[in-house]
Protein backbone atom coordinates (compact mmCIF):
# COMPACT_ATOMS: atom_id res chain seq x y z
CA UNK A 1 0.00 0.00 0.00
CA UNK A 2 1.25 3.48 -0.86
CA UNK A 3 2.32 5.51 2.16
CA UNK A 4 -0.23 8.03 3.40
CA UNK A 5 2.48 10.66 3.85
CA UNK A 6 5.57 10.72 1.69
CA UNK A 7 8.28 13.30 2.32
CA UNK A 8 11.09 13.50 -0.25
CA UNK A 9 14.27 15.44 0.08
CA UNK A 10 12.58 18.20 2.06
CA UNK A 11 14.62 21.23 3.05
CA UNK A 12 13.85 24.47 4.82
CA UNK A 13 16.07 27.47 5.31
CA UNK A 14 14.51 30.29 7.30
CA UNK A 15 14.99 33.96 6.42
CA UNK A 16 17.60 34.16 9.20
CA UNK A 17 19.70 31.64 7.29
CA UNK A 18 19.01 28.84 9.77
CA UNK A 19 18.77 25.47 8.02
CA UNK A 20 15.97 23.70 9.90
CA UNK A 21 15.69 20.74 7.51
CA UNK A 22 18.42 19.30 5.31
CA UNK A 23 16.98 16.95 2.71
CA UNK A 24 14.59 14.94 4.86
CA UNK A 25 12.90 11.87 3.33
CA UNK A 26 10.31 9.87 5.22
CA UNK A 27 7.37 7.60 4.42
CA UNK A 28 4.51 7.22 6.88
CA UNK A 29 2.29 4.17 6.48
CA UNK A 30 -1.46 4.34 6.73
CA UNK A 31 -2.86 3.50 10.16
CA UNK A 32 0.45 3.48 12.02
CA UNK A 33 1.61 5.51 14.99
CA UNK A 34 4.97 7.08 14.24
CA UNK A 35 6.88 8.80 17.00
CA UNK A 36 9.42 11.41 16.00
CA UNK A 37 12.09 11.81 18.62
CA UNK A 38 14.65 14.53 18.70
CA UNK A 39 16.16 17.18 20.92
CA UNK A 40 14.96 20.80 20.87
CA UNK A 41 15.63 22.52 17.56
CA UNK A 42 16.02 19.20 15.73
CA UNK A 43 13.48 20.19 13.06
CA UNK A 44 10.44 18.22 14.28
CA UNK A 45 8.05 21.17 14.33
CA UNK A 46 9.33 22.57 11.03
CA UNK A 47 8.76 19.18 9.38
CA UNK A 48 5.20 19.01 10.71
CA UNK A 49 4.55 22.66 9.82
CA UNK A 50 5.52 22.07 6.20
CA UNK A 51 3.37 18.94 5.89
CA UNK A 52 0.41 20.87 7.36
CA UNK A 53 0.94 23.95 5.18
CA UNK A 54 1.95 26.46 7.85
CA UNK A 55 5.46 26.93 6.50
CA UNK A 56 6.55 26.95 2.86
CA UNK A 57 9.31 24.45 2.04
CA UNK A 58 12.57 25.68 0.50
CA UNK A 59 12.96 22.49 -1.51
CA UNK A 60 11.65 18.95 -1.87
CA UNK A 61 8.10 17.61 -1.92
CA UNK A 62 5.48 16.27 0.45
CA UNK A 63 2.66 14.04 -0.77
CA UNK A 64 -0.32 13.26 1.49
CA UNK A 65 -2.88 10.71 0.32
CA UNK A 66 -1.49 10.97 -3.21
CA UNK A 67 -1.71 14.77 -3.32
CA UNK A 68 1.07 17.36 -3.27
CA UNK A 69 0.78 19.60 -0.18
CA UNK A 70 1.52 22.79 -2.10
CA UNK A 71 -0.36 22.20 -5.35
CA UNK A 72 -3.34 20.28 -3.96
CA UNK A 73 -3.43 21.94 -0.55
CA UNK A 74 -7.20 21.63 -0.29
CA UNK A 75 -7.14 17.85 -0.52
CA UNK A 76 -4.15 17.38 1.78
CA UNK A 77 -5.17 19.83 4.48
CA UNK A 78 -8.70 18.39 4.56
CA UNK A 79 -7.15 15.05 5.50
CA UNK A 80 -4.90 16.42 8.24
CA UNK A 81 -5.59 17.40 11.83
CA UNK A 82 -2.92 19.26 13.78
CA UNK A 83 -2.46 19.68 17.52
CA UNK A 84 0.24 22.32 17.92
CA UNK A 85 2.89 22.37 20.58
CA UNK A 86 1.96 25.75 22.04
CA UNK A 87 -1.30 26.19 23.91
CA UNK A 88 -2.65 28.76 21.49
CA UNK A 89 -6.34 29.45 21.97
CA UNK A 90 -8.71 32.35 21.56
CA UNK A 91 -9.15 33.40 25.17
CA UNK A 92 -12.63 34.84 24.75
CA UNK A 93 -14.23 32.06 22.71
CA UNK A 94 -16.27 29.23 24.20
CA UNK A 95 -15.14 25.63 23.78
CA UNK A 96 -18.15 24.83 21.59
CA UNK A 97 -17.61 27.82 19.29
CA UNK A 98 -13.91 27.31 18.80
CA UNK A 99 -14.33 23.61 17.92
CA UNK A 100 -17.22 24.43 15.56
CA UNK A 101 -15.07 27.16 13.98
CA UNK A 102 -12.31 24.61 13.25
CA UNK A 103 -14.76 22.31 11.47
CA UNK A 104 -16.02 25.19 9.34
CA UNK A 105 -12.48 26.23 8.41
CA UNK A 106 -11.95 22.77 7.00
CA UNK A 107 -14.94 23.26 4.72
CA UNK A 108 -17.19 20.78 6.52
CA UNK A 109 -20.87 21.48 7.07
CA UNK A 110 -21.83 21.93 10.74
CA UNK A 111 -22.36 18.60 12.51
CA UNK A 112 -23.28 19.20 16.17
CA UNK A 113 -23.57 15.44 16.80
CA UNK A 114 -19.93 14.90 15.80
CA UNK A 115 -18.70 17.87 17.85
CA UNK A 116 -20.67 16.53 20.81
CA UNK A 117 -19.04 13.11 20.45
CA UNK A 118 -15.54 14.60 20.21
CA UNK A 119 -16.11 16.75 23.30
CA UNK A 120 -17.52 13.81 25.24
CA UNK A 121 -14.60 11.56 24.21
CA UNK A 122 -12.20 14.16 25.58
CA UNK A 123 -14.23 14.78 28.77
CA UNK A 124 -14.91 18.35 27.69
CA UNK A 125 -18.68 18.16 27.40
CA UNK A 126 -19.41 19.87 30.71
CA UNK A 127 -17.03 22.70 29.71
CA UNK A 128 -18.58 23.36 26.33
CA UNK A 129 -19.97 26.76 27.27
CA UNK A 130 -16.89 27.88 29.20
CA UNK A 131 -14.58 30.52 27.78
CA UNK A 132 -11.15 29.16 26.94
CA UNK A 133 -9.38 31.53 29.30
CA UNK A 134 -11.24 29.89 32.19
CA UNK A 135 -9.70 26.48 31.44
CA UNK A 136 -6.59 24.90 32.92
CA UNK A 137 -3.59 24.09 30.74
CA UNK A 138 -4.56 20.44 30.50
CA UNK A 139 -8.10 21.34 29.47
CA UNK A 140 -6.79 23.71 26.80
CA UNK A 141 -4.67 20.87 25.45
CA UNK A 142 -7.82 18.76 25.15
CA UNK A 143 -9.58 21.61 23.35
CA UNK A 144 -6.74 21.73 20.82
CA UNK A 145 -7.15 17.99 20.24
CA UNK A 146 -10.92 18.45 19.88
CA UNK A 147 -10.32 21.20 17.30
CA UNK A 148 -7.98 18.92 15.36
CA UNK A 149 -10.57 16.11 15.38
CA UNK A 150 -13.52 18.36 14.53
CA UNK A 151 -13.25 17.70 10.79
CA UNK A 152 -12.65 13.94 11.04
CA UNK A 153 -9.03 13.86 9.78
CA UNK A 154 -7.33 10.75 8.39
CA UNK A 155 -3.91 11.85 9.56
CA UNK A 156 -3.35 13.41 12.97
CA UNK A 157 -0.23 15.29 14.00
CA UNK A 158 0.40 15.66 17.70
CA UNK A 159 3.29 18.04 18.33
CA UNK A 160 4.49 17.30 21.86
CA UNK A 161 0.98 16.56 23.06
CA UNK A 162 1.91 15.67 26.62
CA UNK A 163 4.20 18.59 27.46
CA UNK A 164 2.97 19.93 30.80
CA UNK A 165 0.13 17.44 31.05
CA UNK A 166 -0.58 15.49 34.25
CA UNK A 167 -0.51 11.72 34.46
CA UNK A 168 -4.27 11.12 34.35
CA UNK A 169 -4.79 13.36 31.32
CA UNK A 170 -1.83 11.74 29.62
CA UNK A 171 -3.42 8.36 30.15
CA UNK A 172 -6.81 9.43 28.84
CA UNK A 173 -5.11 11.06 25.88
CA UNK A 174 -3.40 7.82 24.92
CA UNK A 175 -6.74 6.09 25.17
CA UNK A 176 -8.11 8.56 22.63
CA UNK A 177 -5.07 7.97 20.43
CA UNK A 178 -5.61 4.20 20.62
CA UNK A 179 -9.28 4.59 19.66
CA UNK A 180 -8.33 6.80 16.73
CA UNK A 181 -5.77 4.30 15.54
CA UNK A 182 -8.36 1.55 15.79
CA UNK A 183 -10.63 3.62 13.53
CA UNK A 184 -7.84 3.81 10.93
CA UNK A 185 -6.38 7.26 11.65
CA UNK A 186 -2.64 7.61 11.07
CA UNK A 187 -0.92 9.34 13.97
CA UNK A 188 2.38 11.15 14.00
CA UNK A 189 3.58 12.46 17.31
CA UNK A 190 6.68 14.24 18.43
CA UNK A 191 7.86 13.93 21.95
CA UNK A 192 10.72 14.37 24.34
CA UNK A 193 9.33 11.61 26.52
CA UNK A 194 10.95 8.53 25.16
CA UNK A 195 8.93 6.19 27.37
CA UNK A 196 5.86 7.52 25.59
CA UNK A 197 7.19 6.57 22.20
CA UNK A 198 8.24 3.23 23.61
CA UNK A 199 4.75 2.63 24.94
CA UNK A 200 2.50 3.59 22.06
CA UNK A 201 4.42 3.95 18.79
CA UNK A 202 4.69 1.34 16.05
CA UNK A 203 7.72 2.98 14.50
CA UNK A 204 10.27 5.42 15.79
CA UNK A 205 11.98 8.13 13.79
CA UNK A 206 14.96 9.97 15.20
CA UNK A 207 15.64 13.46 13.89
CA UNK A 208 18.51 15.72 14.81
CA UNK A 209 20.08 18.80 13.25
CA UNK A 210 17.49 18.82 10.45
CA UNK A 211 18.26 15.25 9.37
CA UNK A 212 16.46 11.97 9.89
CA UNK A 213 18.98 9.68 11.55
CA UNK A 214 16.82 6.59 11.39
CA UNK A 215 13.27 5.35 11.08
CA UNK A 216 12.66 1.86 12.31
CA UNK A 217 10.03 -0.50 13.63
CA UNK A 218 10.06 -0.04 17.38
CA UNK A 219 10.57 -3.66 18.38
CA UNK A 220 13.17 -4.20 15.66
CA UNK A 221 14.98 -1.08 16.82
CA UNK A 222 14.89 -2.20 20.41
CA UNK A 223 16.25 -5.63 19.64
CA UNK A 224 18.75 -4.38 17.09
CA UNK A 225 20.26 -1.74 19.23
CA UNK A 226 19.04 -3.06 22.54
CA UNK A 227 21.81 -4.36 24.73
CA UNK A 228 21.20 -6.37 27.80
CA UNK A 229 23.22 -6.28 30.91
CA UNK A 230 23.70 -9.11 33.35
CA UNK A 231 24.47 -7.99 36.86
CA UNK A 232 25.99 -10.51 39.23
CA UNK A 233 26.06 -9.58 42.93
CA UNK A 234 28.83 -11.37 44.77
CA UNK A 235 28.84 -12.77 48.28
CA UNK A 236 32.48 -11.76 48.78
CA UNK A 237 34.10 -8.78 47.10
CA UNK A 238 36.79 -9.32 44.47
CA UNK A 239 39.85 -7.17 44.06
CA UNK A 240 40.06 -7.83 40.35
CA UNK A 241 38.32 -9.87 37.68
CA UNK A 242 39.86 -13.37 37.86
CA UNK A 243 42.30 -14.26 35.06
CA UNK A 244 40.16 -17.19 33.90
CA UNK A 245 37.25 -14.82 33.20
CA UNK A 246 39.23 -12.29 31.15
CA UNK A 247 37.64 -13.40 27.85
CA UNK A 248 34.20 -12.23 29.00
CA UNK A 249 34.86 -8.51 29.07
CA UNK A 250 33.50 -8.11 32.58
CA UNK A 251 33.61 -4.94 34.63
CA UNK A 252 33.84 -4.87 38.35
CA UNK A 253 31.66 -2.38 40.18
CA UNK A 254 30.40 -1.57 43.66
CA UNK A 255 33.80 -1.91 45.39
CA UNK A 256 34.20 -5.38 43.98
CA UNK A 257 30.74 -6.58 45.03
CA UNK A 258 29.28 -6.69 41.57
CA UNK A 259 30.23 -7.99 38.11
CA UNK A 260 28.62 -6.49 35.01
CA UNK A 261 28.38 -8.45 31.79
CA UNK A 262 27.11 -6.76 28.60
CA UNK A 263 25.65 -8.99 25.91
CA UNK A 264 23.69 -8.73 22.73
CA UNK A 265 20.20 -10.23 22.76
CA UNK A 266 20.19 -10.74 19.00
CA UNK A 267 23.50 -12.65 18.98
CA UNK A 268 23.41 -16.40 18.41
CA UNK A 269 24.97 -17.07 21.77
CA UNK A 270 24.70 -14.72 24.67
CA UNK A 271 27.49 -16.48 26.58
CA UNK A 272 25.53 -16.51 29.83
CA UNK A 273 25.64 -20.25 30.40
CA UNK A 274 29.39 -20.51 29.95
CA UNK A 275 29.95 -17.37 32.05
CA UNK A 276 28.00 -18.83 34.95
CA UNK A 277 29.90 -22.10 34.64
CA UNK A 278 33.22 -20.22 34.55
CA UNK A 279 32.25 -18.21 37.62
CA UNK A 280 31.48 -21.44 39.52
CA UNK A 281 34.78 -22.91 38.35
CA UNK A 282 36.68 -19.86 39.54
CA UNK A 283 35.09 -20.29 42.95
CA UNK A 284 33.18 -17.04 42.85
CA UNK A 285 30.08 -17.25 45.05
CA UNK A 286 26.99 -15.52 43.73
CA UNK A 287 24.48 -13.66 45.85
CA UNK A 288 22.04 -12.50 43.21
CA UNK A 289 21.59 -12.17 39.46
CA UNK A 290 19.56 -9.61 37.55
CA UNK A 291 19.30 -8.41 33.96
CA UNK A 292 18.42 -5.03 32.50
CA UNK A 293 17.49 -4.11 28.94
CA UNK A 294 18.60 -0.75 27.60
CA UNK A 295 15.63 1.56 27.13
CA UNK A 296 14.77 3.57 24.06
CA UNK A 297 16.25 6.51 25.89
CA UNK A 298 19.68 4.85 26.01
CA UNK A 299 19.34 4.07 22.31
CA UNK A 300 18.29 7.61 21.54
CA UNK A 301 21.20 9.14 23.42
CA UNK A 302 23.52 6.76 21.59
CA UNK A 303 22.16 7.66 18.12
CA UNK A 304 22.00 11.40 18.67
CA UNK A 305 25.41 11.33 20.34
CA UNK A 306 26.93 9.46 17.40
CA UNK A 307 25.42 11.97 14.98
CA UNK A 308 27.19 14.86 16.65
Amino acid sequence: MAPIVSVSNLSKTYASGFKALKGVSLDIEQGEILALLGPNGAGKTTLISIICGIVNPSGGTVVVGGHDVVRDFRETRSMIGLVPQELTTDAFETVWNTVTFSRGLHGKKPNPAHIEKVLKDLSLWDKKDNMLRELSGGMKRRVLIAKALSHEPRVLFLDEPTAGVDVSLRKSMWEVVERLRASGVTIILTTHYIEEAEEIADRIGVINGGEILLVEDKTALMSKLGRKQLRVDLSHPLEAVPETLSTYNLTLEGDGHCLIYDYDTSAERTGITSLLAALAEAGVRLKDISTRQSSLEDIFVEIVGAGR
Binding site: R77, L82, D90, S102
Partner: protein, 253 residues
Protein backbone atom coordinates in the same frame (compact mmCIF):
# COMPACT_ATOMS: atom_id res chain seq x y z
CA UNK B 1 -14.28 27.78 -3.14
CA UNK B 2 -14.43 26.84 0.54
CA UNK B 3 -17.64 28.70 1.40
CA UNK B 4 -17.90 27.13 4.87
CA UNK B 5 -14.47 28.51 5.77
CA UNK B 6 -15.30 32.03 4.54
CA UNK B 7 -18.49 31.92 6.58
CA UNK B 8 -16.61 30.62 9.63
CA UNK B 9 -13.99 33.38 9.54
CA UNK B 10 -16.58 36.05 8.77
CA UNK B 11 -18.94 35.12 11.60
CA UNK B 12 -16.04 34.54 13.98
CA UNK B 13 -14.91 38.12 13.35
CA UNK B 14 -18.44 39.49 13.58
CA UNK B 15 -18.84 37.69 16.92
CA UNK B 16 -15.80 39.62 18.16
CA UNK B 17 -17.60 42.82 17.18
CA UNK B 18 -20.64 41.75 19.20
CA UNK B 19 -18.47 40.99 22.23
CA UNK B 20 -16.86 44.42 22.06
CA UNK B 21 -20.04 46.28 21.17
CA UNK B 22 -19.50 49.14 23.57
CA UNK B 23 -16.05 49.98 22.35
CA UNK B 24 -16.71 49.30 18.67
CA UNK B 25 -20.06 51.02 18.18
CA UNK B 26 -20.91 53.25 21.10
CA UNK B 27 -17.51 54.95 21.29
CA UNK B 28 -17.40 56.23 17.66
CA UNK B 29 -21.01 57.40 17.96
CA UNK B 30 -20.23 59.40 21.08
CA UNK B 31 -17.10 60.98 19.61
CA UNK B 32 -18.93 61.90 16.39
CA UNK B 33 -21.81 63.41 18.38
CA UNK B 34 -19.23 65.54 20.21
CA UNK B 35 -17.88 66.77 16.86
CA UNK B 36 -21.39 67.75 15.84
CA UNK B 37 -22.07 69.55 19.09
CA UNK B 38 -18.76 71.45 19.00
CA UNK B 39 -18.27 72.08 15.27
CA UNK B 40 -21.85 71.82 14.08
CA UNK B 41 -23.87 73.54 16.80
CA UNK B 42 -21.44 75.68 18.84
CA UNK B 43 -18.84 76.91 16.34
CA UNK B 44 -20.68 76.00 13.15
CA UNK B 45 -23.53 78.38 13.96
CA UNK B 46 -21.08 81.26 13.58
CA UNK B 47 -19.53 79.98 10.36
CA UNK B 48 -21.17 80.95 7.13
CA UNK B 49 -22.34 78.38 4.61
CA UNK B 50 -19.70 76.75 2.41
CA UNK B 51 -20.73 76.44 -1.24
CA UNK B 52 -24.34 76.87 -0.16
CA UNK B 53 -24.20 74.06 2.41
CA UNK B 54 -24.60 74.70 6.13
CA UNK B 55 -21.35 74.03 8.03
CA UNK B 56 -22.84 71.24 10.18
CA UNK B 57 -24.02 69.39 7.05
CA UNK B 58 -20.78 70.17 5.19
CA UNK B 59 -18.60 68.34 7.72
CA UNK B 60 -20.85 65.24 7.91
CA UNK B 61 -19.31 63.32 4.97
CA UNK B 62 -15.81 64.06 6.30
CA UNK B 63 -16.72 62.83 9.78
CA UNK B 64 -18.21 59.64 8.37
CA UNK B 65 -15.03 59.11 6.32
CA UNK B 66 -12.85 59.76 9.38
CA UNK B 67 -14.64 57.02 11.30
CA UNK B 68 -14.90 54.71 8.31
CA UNK B 69 -11.16 54.86 7.58
CA UNK B 70 -10.12 54.46 11.22
CA UNK B 71 -12.55 51.60 11.84
CA UNK B 72 -11.78 49.71 8.63
CA UNK B 73 -8.02 49.96 9.09
CA UNK B 74 -8.34 49.07 12.78
CA UNK B 75 -10.57 46.05 12.21
CA UNK B 76 -8.79 44.86 9.10
CA UNK B 77 -5.41 44.96 10.79
CA UNK B 78 -6.47 43.63 14.20
CA UNK B 79 -8.43 40.73 12.71
CA UNK B 80 -5.33 39.17 11.14
CA UNK B 81 -2.70 40.52 13.56
CA UNK B 82 -4.32 39.11 16.70
CA UNK B 83 -4.24 35.44 15.58
CA UNK B 84 -0.61 36.04 14.53
CA UNK B 85 0.11 37.46 17.98
CA UNK B 86 -1.63 34.65 19.92
CA UNK B 87 -0.46 31.93 17.55
CA UNK B 88 -3.95 30.75 16.60
CA UNK B 89 -3.11 31.67 13.00
CA UNK B 90 -1.67 28.12 12.71
CA UNK B 91 -5.19 26.87 12.31
CA UNK B 92 -6.13 29.13 9.42
CA UNK B 93 -2.82 28.40 7.69
CA UNK B 94 -3.22 24.63 8.04
CA UNK B 95 -6.82 24.64 6.80
CA UNK B 96 -7.88 23.98 3.22
CA UNK B 97 -8.44 27.69 2.72
CA UNK B 98 -6.93 29.77 -0.08
CA UNK B 99 -5.56 33.21 0.67
CA UNK B 100 -8.42 34.73 -1.32
CA UNK B 101 -10.89 33.03 1.02
CA UNK B 102 -8.96 34.22 4.08
CA UNK B 103 -9.16 37.79 2.75
CA UNK B 104 -12.87 37.46 1.93
CA UNK B 105 -13.55 36.33 5.51
CA UNK B 106 -11.41 38.85 7.38
CA UNK B 107 -11.74 41.85 5.07
CA UNK B 108 -15.42 41.15 4.48
CA UNK B 109 -16.05 41.30 8.23
CA UNK B 110 -13.92 44.44 8.70
CA UNK B 111 -15.68 46.23 5.85
CA UNK B 112 -19.12 45.14 7.10
CA UNK B 113 -18.36 46.52 10.52
CA UNK B 114 -17.06 49.79 8.99
CA UNK B 115 -20.20 50.17 6.88
CA UNK B 116 -22.39 49.45 9.92
CA UNK B 117 -20.68 52.06 12.06
CA UNK B 118 -20.62 54.56 9.18
CA UNK B 119 -24.37 54.09 8.75
CA UNK B 120 -24.97 54.58 12.47
CA UNK B 121 -22.98 57.82 12.30
CA UNK B 122 -24.94 58.96 9.27
CA UNK B 123 -28.15 58.35 11.23
CA UNK B 124 -26.71 60.12 14.28
CA UNK B 125 -25.72 63.07 12.06
CA UNK B 126 -29.25 63.33 10.71
CA UNK B 127 -30.38 64.07 14.27
CA UNK B 128 -28.15 67.16 14.37
CA UNK B 129 -28.29 68.51 10.81
CA UNK B 130 -30.58 68.47 7.78
CA UNK B 131 -29.10 65.95 5.36
CA UNK B 132 -30.13 65.19 1.83
CA UNK B 133 -28.37 62.72 -0.45
CA UNK B 134 -28.33 63.97 -4.03
CA UNK B 135 -26.81 60.82 -5.55
CA UNK B 136 -27.58 57.79 -3.35
CA UNK B 137 -25.95 55.27 -5.70
CA UNK B 138 -22.73 57.28 -5.90
CA UNK B 139 -22.86 57.66 -2.12
CA UNK B 140 -23.07 53.87 -1.69
CA UNK B 141 -20.29 53.43 -4.28
CA UNK B 142 -17.89 55.73 -2.38
CA UNK B 143 -18.99 54.38 0.99
CA UNK B 144 -18.61 50.67 0.24
CA UNK B 145 -15.51 50.91 -1.94
CA UNK B 146 -13.72 53.03 0.64
CA UNK B 147 -14.67 50.52 3.35
CA UNK B 148 -13.37 47.61 1.29
CA UNK B 149 -10.14 49.35 0.20
CA UNK B 150 -9.21 50.50 3.67
CA UNK B 151 -10.09 47.17 5.25
CA UNK B 152 -7.70 45.62 2.72
CA UNK B 153 -5.12 48.25 3.62
CA UNK B 154 -5.63 47.38 7.30
CA UNK B 155 -5.24 43.67 6.51
CA UNK B 156 -1.89 44.40 4.85
CA UNK B 157 -0.78 46.41 7.92
CA UNK B 158 -1.86 43.49 10.13
CA UNK B 159 0.31 41.08 8.15
CA UNK B 160 3.25 43.49 8.05
CA UNK B 161 3.14 44.49 11.74
CA UNK B 162 5.55 42.65 14.01
CA UNK B 163 4.30 44.23 17.23
CA UNK B 164 1.48 46.36 18.59
CA UNK B 165 3.45 49.55 18.03
CA UNK B 166 3.75 48.91 14.31
CA UNK B 167 0.10 47.87 14.26
CA UNK B 168 -0.97 51.23 15.64
CA UNK B 169 1.56 53.35 13.78
CA UNK B 170 -0.38 54.01 10.59
CA UNK B 171 -3.90 54.22 12.06
CA UNK B 172 -2.77 56.58 14.81
CA UNK B 173 -0.07 58.66 13.16
CA UNK B 174 -0.82 58.73 9.46
CA UNK B 175 -4.57 58.53 9.00
CA UNK B 176 -5.76 61.40 11.27
CA UNK B 177 -3.54 64.06 9.63
CA UNK B 178 -4.56 62.85 6.18
CA UNK B 179 -8.24 63.01 7.11
CA UNK B 180 -8.03 66.36 8.89
CA UNK B 181 -5.96 67.89 6.07
CA UNK B 182 -8.10 66.18 3.43
CA UNK B 183 -10.89 68.69 3.72
CA UNK B 184 -13.06 67.06 6.37
CA UNK B 185 -13.79 70.38 8.02
CA UNK B 186 -13.28 72.83 5.16
CA UNK B 187 -13.20 73.23 1.43
CA UNK B 188 -9.62 73.35 0.14
CA UNK B 189 -10.57 76.53 -1.73
CA UNK B 190 -10.24 78.14 1.67
CA UNK B 191 -6.51 77.31 1.79
CA UNK B 192 -3.66 79.43 0.32
CA UNK B 193 -2.67 78.25 -3.20
CA UNK B 194 0.48 76.45 -1.98
CA UNK B 195 -1.43 74.28 0.51
CA UNK B 196 -4.13 73.68 -2.05
CA UNK B 197 -1.49 72.18 -4.33
CA UNK B 198 -0.07 70.09 -1.47
CA UNK B 199 -3.56 68.85 -0.62
CA UNK B 200 -3.87 67.26 -4.04
CA UNK B 201 -1.21 64.74 -3.01
CA UNK B 202 -3.40 63.64 -0.15
CA UNK B 203 -5.38 60.57 -1.27
CA UNK B 204 -8.00 61.08 1.42
CA UNK B 205 -8.96 64.42 -0.15
CA UNK B 206 -10.37 62.53 -3.12
CA UNK B 207 -12.41 60.19 -0.95
CA UNK B 208 -13.96 62.97 1.11
CA UNK B 209 -14.54 65.19 -1.90
CA UNK B 210 -16.27 62.44 -3.89
CA UNK B 211 -18.31 61.36 -0.89
CA UNK B 212 -19.37 64.94 -0.19
CA UNK B 213 -20.32 65.41 -3.83
CA UNK B 214 -22.74 62.46 -3.58
CA UNK B 215 -24.53 64.36 -0.80
CA UNK B 216 -24.46 68.03 -1.86
CA UNK B 217 -23.09 68.09 -5.43
CA UNK B 218 -20.21 70.26 -4.23
CA UNK B 219 -16.65 68.98 -4.44
CA UNK B 220 -13.00 70.03 -4.31
CA UNK B 221 -12.11 67.74 -7.20
CA UNK B 222 -14.07 66.23 -10.05
CA UNK B 223 -16.09 63.26 -8.65
CA UNK B 224 -14.98 61.08 -11.56
CA UNK B 225 -11.37 61.68 -10.52
CA UNK B 226 -12.36 60.78 -6.94
CA UNK B 227 -13.95 57.51 -8.10
CA UNK B 228 -10.87 56.72 -10.17
CA UNK B 229 -8.62 57.36 -7.17
CA UNK B 230 -10.53 54.85 -5.03
CA UNK B 231 -10.26 52.26 -7.75
CA UNK B 232 -6.51 52.98 -8.05
CA UNK B 233 -6.06 52.60 -4.28
CA UNK B 234 -8.05 49.36 -4.29
CA UNK B 235 -5.91 48.05 -7.15
CA UNK B 236 -2.70 48.92 -5.30
CA UNK B 237 -3.92 47.10 -2.18
CA UNK B 238 -4.94 44.04 -4.20
CA UNK B 239 -1.55 43.98 -5.96
CA UNK B 240 0.34 44.14 -2.65
CA UNK B 241 -1.84 41.33 -1.30
CA UNK B 242 -1.23 39.23 -4.40
CA UNK B 243 2.51 39.61 -3.80
CA UNK B 244 2.08 38.66 -0.12
CA UNK B 245 0.17 35.52 -1.09
CA UNK B 246 2.74 34.53 -3.66
CA UNK B 247 5.71 34.91 -1.34
CA UNK B 248 4.09 33.92 1.97
CA UNK B 249 5.53 37.18 3.37
CA UNK B 250 5.42 37.18 7.19
CA UNK B 251 2.81 34.41 7.19
CA UNK B 252 4.40 31.22 5.91
CA UNK B 253 8.08 32.09 6.19
Amino acid sequence: MNIEAIKSIYFFEMARTRRTLLQSVVSPVISTSLYFIVFGAAIGARIQEIDGVSYGAFITPGLIMLTLLTQCIGNGSFGIYFPKFTGTIYEVLSSPVSMVEIVLGYVGAAATKGVMIGTIILLTASLFVDLSIAHPLAMIFFFVLTAVSFSLFGFIIGIWAKDFEQLNLIPMLVIPPLVFLGGSFYSIDMLPPFWQAVSHFNPVLYLISGFRWSFFEVSDVNPVVSAAMIVVFLTICLSVLAWIFRTGYRLRN
